[in-house]
Amino acid sequence: MTEPDLVIALDLDCRGMNCPLPILKTKKAITGLATGDVLRVVATDPGSVADMAAFSRRTGNEIIEQGEGDGEYTFLFRKG
């Protein structure tokens, strides 16, 4: 569940995209945000679970929440 006071600065729809597009789109989206902003990404690529975690570790953009359901994977990034 999302914290009630959490503000999503940007929503990114990566459904139907395959490797490496979700990562590339996430990078592009997060670049346009300010430090501390939250980006929500929805993807359907099961590989994005491992890849988003790696992206987070390499770039210092923390995943503050993630979820899975109905074949969709949701990630909330806080821009570092």
């Binding site: 139907g16 395959n18 490496p20 597009l21 590339l24 996430t26 992206f55 570790r57 770039t59």
Partner: protein, 172 residues
């Protein structure tokens, strides 16, 4: 993330120009850039045409025995079926390669895979260095103005100077 006082670096050699082999260098380079790495790709021999404005990369199943031959349409069982195509057919039927290329492109599109052009554009946008091999240009008769904007021209020493200061080095 950095190594000492510089970002992590990746140096790739792209030596193959078929559609299937065009993917690895552009996927790795665009992703590395997304992971805040610095990237250079040296395009040499048959990899050089991947820099052309008018990209014509295709596949040739005849010389690629491990390549699955599958259909991008129809019911799941039909799509999952690997068609046994004898070399006699794949090597001799006119238009077989262009048909296989078209099928592969359709499958990739359907599966949400980016095109080579898209990945290449992202590489350029994100500052990856694309280096065309001067010797290959001379041998095969390429001119710089046939290549996309942002390409630099160099030789083995240009690549090796970068590779010597890279953390990841791959020959593709």
């Amino acid at each position: 993330m950095s190594n000492g006082d510089r970002p992590t670096r990746m140096a790739l050699i792209a030596s193959k120009g078929t559609l299937d082999w065009a993917y690895p260098p552009f996927i790795l380079a665009s992703t590395a850039a997304a992971l805040d790495m610095e990237v250079a790709i040296f395009f040499t021999f048959y990899g050089l045409p991947l820099l052309m404005k008018d990209l014509k990369a295709s596949v040739s199943p005849h010389t690629n025995p491990a390549m699955p031959m599958k259909m991008p349409f129809g019911p799941e069982g039909f799509q999952g079926f690997n068609w046994p195509v004898p070399n006699l057919i794949s090597g001799n039927v006119p238009g077989f390669d262009s048909m296989a290329t078209s099928l592969m492109k359709q499958t990739f599109k359907k599966k949400g895979v980016a095109t080579i052009e898209e990945l290449r554009e992202i590489c350029i946008e994100s500052g990856a260095r694309l280096i065309g091999c001067q010797m290959t240009m001379d041998v095969f008769g390429f001119e710089k103005d046939q290549f996309v904007d942002g390409v630099e021209i160099g030789g083995a020493a240009t690549f090796l100077e970068y590779a010597a200061e890279s953390d990841i080095n791959m020959f593709i």
